[in-house]
Amino acid sequence: MRTLVVYVPDWPAVAARREVNTTAPVAVVTHAAVVSADPLARAAGVVPGLRRREAQNRCPDLVLVADDPLRDAHHFEEHVRAIENTVPLVHIVRPGLVAMNARGPARFYGTEERAAHALIAAIGGDVRVGIADGLYTAHQAATRGRPVACVPVGGSPEYLAPLGVSRLGEPDIVSLLHRLGITTLGAFAALSAESVRERFGVRGALLHAAAAGLDAAVVTPRDIPVDYACEVVCDTPLTRSDEIAFVMRQPAEQFIDALGAAGYACTALRVMYRNERGDSTERSWAHPRAFGPAEVVDRVRWQLAANTRLATTTEHEGFTGDGIVLVRIEPETVAPISRYEPGLFGSAPDERIHSALARVQSILGHDGVLTVSIGGGRRLAEREVLTPWGEKPVHTRSVTAPWPGSMPSPAPATVYPTPLPVTVVGDTGPIPPAEILSEEPRALETSGRRRAIAGWAGPWPLVERWWDGGQSEWRMQVTDTTGMAWLLVSEAQEWHIEARYD
């Protein structure tokens, strides 16, 4: 089949670049090797396949971004839309690489080349197009397109013949071919299919067919288990990302549960919106393992953000588009349940709790309702990890670590989110924080109020994260003559009240 391939070079690096505000070279890496390098990085000698350490050696200011296919897909969205606006019915091979049947666009735009140029114009930036009989050849042509490479009908073998065998991308077979003196795809293709199959097995035979320009175009329609699709109709058009997220939470759970009940986990899904004007957009999303309900909701939010060109973090702002009236999610690929990992949130809260909190959230905003978990840290406020209802708590400090220097139980019942300034006064004046107090403390003074001190313990040092510029601070406990006990902490060498034992 006549196939047209659109190729954006180094797509993962291009996508990563959008998320790391930097002017330095950027490379996308796995734990071991470079996956993709942007033009700046390439200029410094960083190429895909290079070991991560060597890459940083060659280019010490290289910004490394962890490989993330979702990010690639996310940012590729706009290109897909641009392509779809030009040519309907495309197949995303992977982010950065889109294939389509060339016949339609060629007919519409007059020639294949014109179609190619129309696509390039629609996308903008560094985009290559290859057109050939079959996906493999079109892909090879696209990588060599300046910007368009068109292989005539029946011309694939001739086109591929002079290219190096390293384009087969299988290092062990490529190495062996080199040693056999077979350095081009043409020379490889010239071997008999039988002998190749005998020497290299099935894998070699497939490569051999590709090298001969014989691959079948595999642009096939998707097999969608329609039964599991899930639609949410909104009575009043929704205009806020967090509203939609809220509305989607339960349907997403039902969607995942229903698949689960049938023995499936969802590994890729398709999300469709319709707005009040009847326009709809749809995208598919993949997950490296399997989607949980919260992740489904995330994708829904992201897609909305992508479509309205808002950053995903500004969820409380209204978006500029039209109100959404319908959201549809459907599974695109599924895997047997054994691979499915349980959801993030333990047992689901009962429905009454959920709906009550949902109501409160709709009044006070997404982060008006918080769950609390005990985190790590030496300061009391740090140990309270507050998370909007429905989200997973993120602990930035180790929960299991002992945190030497933290206050032992009993914990004070009142912890001020922001410590309040206080002056510790002795007979001769204010007493600054220090390991040994300059004199015996007599009173605490806050904005004119004075409490006589009955006893004190400490000060204890509190040097936190000196490597982040943390300063030497102190802590002490004070009891006043009314029977109240206080926990003081110094900030920038001034005493503050951190908590009260009430």
Binding site: L364, S409, T482, G483
Partner: protein, 218 residues
């Protein structure tokens, strides 16, 4: 420990007529919501479902009151208490897995508290101060209907009982050495009857030399 029947008896004596009627209407003895033994004794065996309690100036006491229910599996919320110490709540026995906080309800206080008492087993809320009596009554009615307990830090008109802290005694801190190892909180409980006094030793696990762990001062 006095049995459930004894409590009902006691209530009769106190003439809590409406309660009695309600109990008779439901034709069963409403179980009490579990709470700390000290308060259970002072409050007639436990917290009364659907009731509102008012606590003055001690979050420790408020949390101890709520802990029994929370530890027993009830969902618990706090409203308008951004300075509530989570670690202390945990130590008091509140199950943080089933706990949410709405730190800044603002003007929506009545709505929020109303929504929560409708579905949560126990709600801690700091009194907003100037609440219209109608709102208070509405919230109380919702609580009563749902059988949940509202513990208000501050005043509340028509509270089931008022628990007031009369003295704190911190322990363990001396002149330049030591450490807060706990405190004794002396409270008075004013219900529909005579005021009672007691001292709550904190933390609950604190090992006290004699006298026994629970000291009732009448």
């Amino acid at each position: 420990m006095s049995g459930l029947a004894g409590i009902v008896e006691h209530m009769f004596e106190l003439g809590v007529l409406r309660e009695r009627i309600r109990e008779m209407e439901t034709t069963r003895v409403e179980p009490r919501v579990p709470t700390h033994p000290l308060f259970a004794r002072l409050l007639g065996g436990g917290l009364k479902p659907g009731a509102v309690y008012s606590v003055s100036s001690s979050l420790t006491v408020a949390m101890v009151l709520a802990a029994g229910a929370s530890g027993g599996g009830a969902w618990c919320a706090s409203v308008g208490i951004p300075h509530l110490g989570a670690q202390a709540a945990h130590e008091a026995g509140i199950n943080l897995e089933r706990f949410v906080t709405i730190p800044y309800p603002g003007a929506q206080w009545p709505t929020v508290v109303g929504a929560l008492v409708d579905s949560f087993g126990i709600v801690l809320a700091r009194s907003p101060g100037d609440m219209p009596a109608a709102s208070a009554a509405r919230i109380a009615a919702v609580a009563r209907r749902a059988g949940s307990v509202l513990i208000v830090v501050g005043d509340w008109p028509g509270a089931e009982a008022r628990i007031q802290v009369v003295a704190h005694t911190p322990l363990g801190v001396h002149q330049g050495h030591g450490l807060v190892v706990g405190h004794d909180i002396a409270v008075t409980v004013t219900g529909k009857g005579a005021a009672q006094r007691a001292v709550l030793p904190w933390p609950l696990t604190r090992e006290l030399p004699a006298p026994p762990r629970l000291r009732l001062v009448v």
